[in-house]
């Protein structure tokens, strides 16, 4: 009797494990092109922020020294930041996700409303990306462009009048501090969500995670929409489909 029970529960445990291992494979959230873009951006941004810290904070400057080499590294890692994104545009999946990130739906506004008022992330209002992730993406694009613009003004001081250079330094310095705060937030949220990290590492996320964190996302592999009728819908079909109901 106990033996039978034990066997049953063991079988159940095995089943669970089987299910889990399938869940581990999960669903494709990102293609390899996308994980590559993210990783390249992370490295470039890491170098850029690291060198910036060495140029800016006296205690670090004193340890590192080598000012001219650090400046060169900072300049080139910064100017290279758009490259992975531009290369990524060759990938259809990347373009589609860029489209998803760029567009707000009514549920995104409600997500923001909850986040601002109740200080909490309402996962039930999230498609493939929640509104916070969408805003982060847009902020990152804008911030990198502004940093490159102001950075170039300082990089080639003779091309612009001093008046511009002071202004550019002002924008570059303060936006850098702001970016440091935002990037810290980005890393903090990532540190608390191993599944999201795994999604960017391997490309796959478990189904339960999608259900919990991004319930409005309808992965294409799930919806048999690879028909002629489905194909002419473009970018954020999941969000749109859900909005339409």
């Amino acid at each position: 009797m106990t033996w039978t029970d034990g066997s049953a529960s063991r079988t159940a445990a095995m089943m669970t494990r089987l299910h889990e291992s399938r869940a581990v494979t999960g669903l494709r959230r990102f293609t390899r092109a996308e994980t590559w873009v993210h990783r390249s951006l992370a490295w470039l941004m890491g170098v850029c922020v690291g060198t910036a810290a060495c140029l800016y904070f006296p205690p670090l400057s004193e340890i590192v020294g080598r000012r001219r080499q650090v400046v060169t590294l900072h300049e080139w890692s910064g100017i290279a930041l758009p490259v992975p994104v531009l290369l990524g545009l060759a990938s259809r999946a990347f373009r589609e996700d860029a489209g998803r990130l760029g567009r707000f739906f009514p549920h995104d506004r409600r997500w923001l409303g909850v986040a601002l008022r109740a200080r909490r992330r309402e996962a039930s209002l999230a498609g493939k990306f929640n509104a916070g992730q969408k805003l982060f993406a847009a902020f990152s694009v804008g911030a990198v462009l502004v940093m490159i613009g102001t950075g170039l003004i300082m990089w080639f001081p003779r091309l612009t009048p001093l008046f511009w250079r002071t202004g550019a330094t002002f924008v570059h310095d303060w936006l850098a501090l702001f970016m440091a705060a935002v990037i810290t937030g980005h890393v903090w949220f990532a540190s608390k969500d191993p599944e999201a990290r795994r999604g960017l590492r391997t490309g796959y996320v478990p189904r339960w995670w999608i259900k919990e964190e991004h319930p409005l996302w309808r992965p294409e592999s799930e919806a048999p929409r690879k028909t002629a009728a489905g194909r002419h819908r473009t970018a954020p079909d999941d969000d749109r489909a859900r909005e339409r109901g």
């Binding site: 020294g65 039930s124 694009v141 804008g142 502004v146 001081p157 202004g167 339409r244």
Partner: protein, 285 residues
Amino acid sequence: MDDSAPHPVRTPVPLPLREPREPGESHTSHDASGPGDAGPPHESGEAAGKEDRGSPVGRRVVLGMLGLGAAGVAVGGDIQDKLDSVLASVSAKDPTGVTGLLPGGGGFRFYSVSNSIPHRAESDYRLTIGGLVDKPVSYRLSDLRALPQVRMVRDVQCVTGWRVPHTAFSGVRLSTLLDAAGVQSKGAAIRFTCFDGVYTESLTMEQARRPDMLVALTMNDKPVTDAHGGPVRLYAAPMYFYKSAKWLSGITVTKDVQPGYWEHYGYDVDGWVGKSNGRHDDPTS
């Protein structure tokens, strides 16, 4: 469990529209519909007008930031000026020193082109004076202290923009050392070398003989620290601070000006504050 997950989500979708969709939404919707979107959470214009493609918030954010960035470049100089004075007064009373780390926080920034902070002290520091002079000499720290000392309080202006007001330096006038060594008539310029092994600087003889050119032993009435270029640094008061070579170890009188370290990378050899490097800062001396 995981297999069946999407199905119950998907099936009810076609019928009940957005409104009752999520169970969590019922309590969300009433507070979310408050100030943001007036009226029920259907929001009309959006879905009707744009065929539910959503609104291009990403593009708006990016364009907005570009606009703000451009505006910041236009007015940044003025704002930073005002911030500087505020931050300077705050950081003067800030025991933690955190405000000193903010842009324009009124502190020195540490710039070094070498690998590490070099260290020389009483026992191993030497300042050699050579080149086109009659009496090449080598000074120890105690020798330098024994010479007549001059103290000056001026602003320090860096070519990258930061300025530290009222900084005291004291030491021996460069002209005192030059006179003692006896500059030959061919000697028209000076090359400075540093014991970090990398940095170099230069002055014309006329510039070097100005009374506000010091071989500095103290900064703010304390011995110059290692990080600030101690134990002995140059202090070229009327010029941008890159001319004030740290860790000074050699003064060589030459025939012509030999551009210094940063001057190989585009900085002006004659680094007058406000009259060089395309800048118009107030003079410091």
